[in-house]
């Protein structure tokens, strides 16, 4: 089989394929234009950027209308080839694959990107770097669309890297803040670790099949040429999944996402709700039919564990964005779990609904932060200090920001999964899949649906808590209510560029958009369209079998499962009402006090399961300790034996300078550090004395001769 498919024929570009190219390249054009135009033309440049993204929505919609439930379009051209003298070498192709899956994602990306473009206009208005910001948005959109539209894994990997880079730029956008820079680095690194797995998976696929073209790989699977039960293919599947783990913030690499909230809030809506984090799930969907059974099981467990951990971590956060960040981790866990249990359609459906309601939540939070940020200065003049992101200083906002209140509550209900909202439909489908899978596998597999159901209640609890703390009760901003009212008098009303995106996304959080029957998604157009993408699969594929069994049996359990999930959600809401409800209306002081004496669970939650601490301890502290003892050693002993221990002195001096560096910039990355330690040693060869160089060289020669000749 090896190298049999090296020579892929070109597939000519149709008008639709050219249009898809246009959709892909327009954001890049926007990036280039914004990067090149000088600072003094920033207004027209930004207008141009927004215009481009609006055009992109129109083009995307047209593509969607033409492709959805119609024939898929594939166009391909030779990218480069390596031909050898005696035989034809491998050929790399590049192309566009337009199917139901990709056009759906195109819609999500272009619409959310456009709304974020619009929303940012007011949000970033006072920022000096606004032109750079819009340029990065364009670059990011381009990369994301590239992932969605590519027809082979190699190309996907290239765009995948570009997404990593551009998100790094966006998260670290406020480079004046050290925390933002550190967060950007962290995101980048976590992603790189995942990418290494991805790359390994690609290489194994290449080694087996000599191609990375998705259609060709699927053809192998369809024609039954797919070797099953091969260890290396399992490794490849896990490797690719690791790529998804990095991008979609799954356990154990989820630590980067909460920190990434350092970026501007509209960016969080784009990157951390709708697009980049969804790329992992999208990748899993792309290779869904190619995954081995062990890989799927592994995915299911990872997803369920992440969903649960994320929900726990969201319970006691005080930062309005942090709650949403952990909630995103938790919901992504759902989607990944869905892929693992074979609920392919439901998982993607949840991706779609989540994109809408989570983007709405982030943008609403952004609107709140924007307004409070404006007030922060005015209050500061009166000696009152607030943190515009801290929920403990909010409360009663429903009176002052009615629009945001309504959109927030609509999208929060969708997230909780109450009937009539989009989240209900997709979560229900996911839970059904998980429950069926658990029953089929039996034994420990029940853990997966169990965790998924518990997470429903937890989700309701933390969202209820957030709604109550932010919008209900009375304001905790200032000591007396007159003062608060006076301050609010001076606040600017929200511009329409902010309101419009909120309304659009809030509308997208209702169930009617996706299904005529608001309590049952089985016949919704989205799910039907997504199932259609599996039609050509080989019935022997594990994923296909599982999905079909869900389709066949799901409706037997549907009513039962939806009742349980709604019941759990209501319990969660009730519990949060008990603790934070209007009657109690805890004051700022009480909230601060309550968390200081927090029980174990709250501490665990606040610290995100102590993951950062653990990583810190395991990778960093051990090294730190060593440097410290070495330093003592230097002080006491070295003065006397400075000549004798000339060599060790070099090492020690390096260790001490590492220590300084470490303490001074505390945010240096763990891995970078460990790597750096080795680097310190290896450059100590370079002591400066030329004759020590001779020694090294001679040693090298003698060693080589000894190893290779004797």
């Amino acid at each position: 089989m090896e190298n049999s498919m090296n020579h892929l024929q070109d597939i000519p570009f149709t008008p639709l394929a050219y249009m898809a190219m246009a959709v892909l390249l327009l954001p890049l054009l926007s990036f280039v234009v914004l990067a090149i135009l000088p600072q003094r033309w920033k207004r027209p440049a930004i207008a141009l950027g927004i215009l481009f993204s609006a055009i992109n929505v129109l083009l995307g919609s047209y593509l969607f209308s033409q492709i959805w439930e119609a024939e898929a379009v594939h166009a391909r051209t030779q990218w480069f080839s390596l031909s050898l003298l005696d035989k034809e070498g491998p050929t790399f192709t590049a192309g566009i694959l337009l199917g139901n899956l990709s056009v759906l994602m195109v819609m999500v990306v272009t619409v959310v990107a456009f709304l974020v473009h619009l929303f940012s206009l007011a949000y970033m208005a006072s920022d000096k770097g606004i032109k750079r910001y819009y340029a990065f948005l364009g670059l990011f959109t381009f990369a994301m669309l590239g992932i969605v539209l590519s027809d082979n894994l190699m190309l996907i990997f290239c765009f995948w890297e570009l997404v990593g880079l551009s998100s790094y730029l966006l998260i670290g956008f406020w480079y004046q803040k050290d925390t933002a820079v550190a967060a950007g680095k962290k995101a980048f690194l976590a992603n790189r670790i995942g990418d290494l797995g991805f790359l390994m998976g690609l290489m194994i696929f290449w080694a087996y099949f000599g191609t990375l073209d998705l259609e060709v790989l699927h053809a192998f699977q369809k024609e039954g040429n797919w070797p099953t039960g091969e260890l290396w293919l399992t490794v490849a599947g896990i490797g690719i999944f690791f790529g998804a783990v990095g991008k979609s913030a799954q356990f154990p690499l989820q630590v980067w996402l909460p920190d990434a909230m350092e970026g501007p809030t509209p960016v969080s809506a784009l990157i951390h709700a709708a697009t980049m984090v969804a790329a992992g799930v999208f990748l899993l969907a792309r290779v869904f039919l190619l995954l081995e059974v062990d890989v799927l099981t592994f995915i299911a467990y990872t997803g369920a564990i992440t969903a649960f951990m994320g929900a726990i971590a969201a319970l006691y956060q005080q930062d309005i964005k942090k709650v949403l960040a952990f909630s995103t981790i938790s919901q992504l866990g759902y989607m990944v779990m869905g892929m693992g249990v074979g609920a392919y359609g439901a998982s993607l459906f949840h991706l779609l609904t989540h994109a809408a309601f989570k983007a709405c939540l982030f943008l609403s939070a952004g609107a709140i932060i924007h307004v409070l940020h404006g007030l922060e200065k005015k209050l500061g003049e009166d000696g009152i200090y607030i943190d515009p992101q801290d929920m403990r200083s909010m409360g009663g906002l429903r009176r002052y920001l009615p629009t945001v209140f309504i959109t927030y509550i609509l999208s929060a209900f969708a997230l909780i999964g109450l009937p009539l909202f989009s989240g209900f439909l997709s979560k229900d489908a996911l839970l059904t899949g998980a429950a069926l899978w658990g029953m089929e596998q039996g034994g420990a597999a029940y853990l997966v649906p169990l965790l998924a159901f518990i997470t429903v209640a937890l989700t309701a609890y933390y969202m209820g808590r957030q709604l109550l703390l932010v919008f209900f009760g009375t304001s905790r901003m200032a000591p007396d209510s007159d003062k608060v009212a006076a301050v609010w008098q001076q606040s600017q009303p929200l511009p329409w560029t902010m309101k419009l995106p909120l309304w659009v996304l809030a509308l997208g959080s209702t169930a009617f958009v996706f299904s005529l029957n608001p309590v049952d998604a089985t016949h919704s157009w989205v799910l039907q369209g997504l199932y259609a993408t599996l039609n050509s699969a080989n019935p022997l594929s594990i994923g296909y079998k599982q999905q079909m069994s869900i389709v066949a049996q799901g409706h037997h359990y549907h009513t039962f499962i939806s009742l349980i999930s709604v019941g759990l959600a209501i319990i969660g809401l009730y519990l949060s009402y008990r603790r934070y409800g209007a009657k109690k209306n805890p004051s700022k002081g009480q909230l601060v006090e309550g968390e200081r004496a927090a029980p174990f669970l709250a501490k665990l939650s606040l610290n995100n399961w102590y993951l950062d601490t653990i990583y810190d301890k395991v990778f960093v502290r051990t090294v730190l300790f060593k440097s410290k003892t070495l330093q003592n050693f230097e002080v006491r002993v070295l003065d006397r034996f400075i000549d004798i221990f000339a060599v060790s002195q070099v090492v020690l001096a390096h260790a001490v300078s590492i220590f300084d560096r470490w303490v001074v910039d505390g945010g240096v990355n763990v891995t970078a550090y460990a790597v750096g330690l080795v680097g310190k040693w290896s450059r100590s060869i370079q002591g400066g004395k030329v004759q020590s160089y001779f020694l090294w060289v001679l040693m090298g020669v003698v060693l080589i001769v000894l190893f290779f000749l004797f």
């Binding site: 450059r683 370079q686 002591g687 400066g688 004395k689 004759q691 001779f694 001679l698």
Partner: protein
């Protein structure tokens, strides 16, 4: 005729002595002397082997090596003089500003 092994052994010994000089002597010019010894060790080999070669390639090679050695020595001494004017020393131990 003198056996070829003798020549090769002599050259090996000279090579190692040259290397030892290069490593342990601090003075830059003495180090250069060591380098000349290394080159001469190779030359002995080349000349000795050329004895059996009708086209005496080894002898010609040696000729070129001697030319190159002279050129190299000229440049090296120029550099040593220049270094001396900055460091006021030709002690290689003290010439170690570039490192790391």
């Amino acid at each position: 005729m003198i056996p070829i092994e003798h020549f090769v052994l002599l050259s090996a010994a000279l090579l190692c002595i040259g290397l030892l000089i290069v490593i342990i002597k601090k003075n830059a010019i003495v180090v250069l002397m060591g380098i000349e010894l290394i080159l001469n060790a190779s030359n002995i080999n080349l000349v000795a082997f050329a004895r059996y070669d009708p086209s005496i390639q080894g002898q010609l090679f040696t000729l070129f090596v001697i030319i190159v050695a002279a050129a190299e020595a000229a440049v090296a001494l120029a550099i040593v003089v220049r270094v001396y004017s900055y460091f006021k020393s030709s002690d290689l131990d003290r010439i170690k500003e570039l490192k790391g």
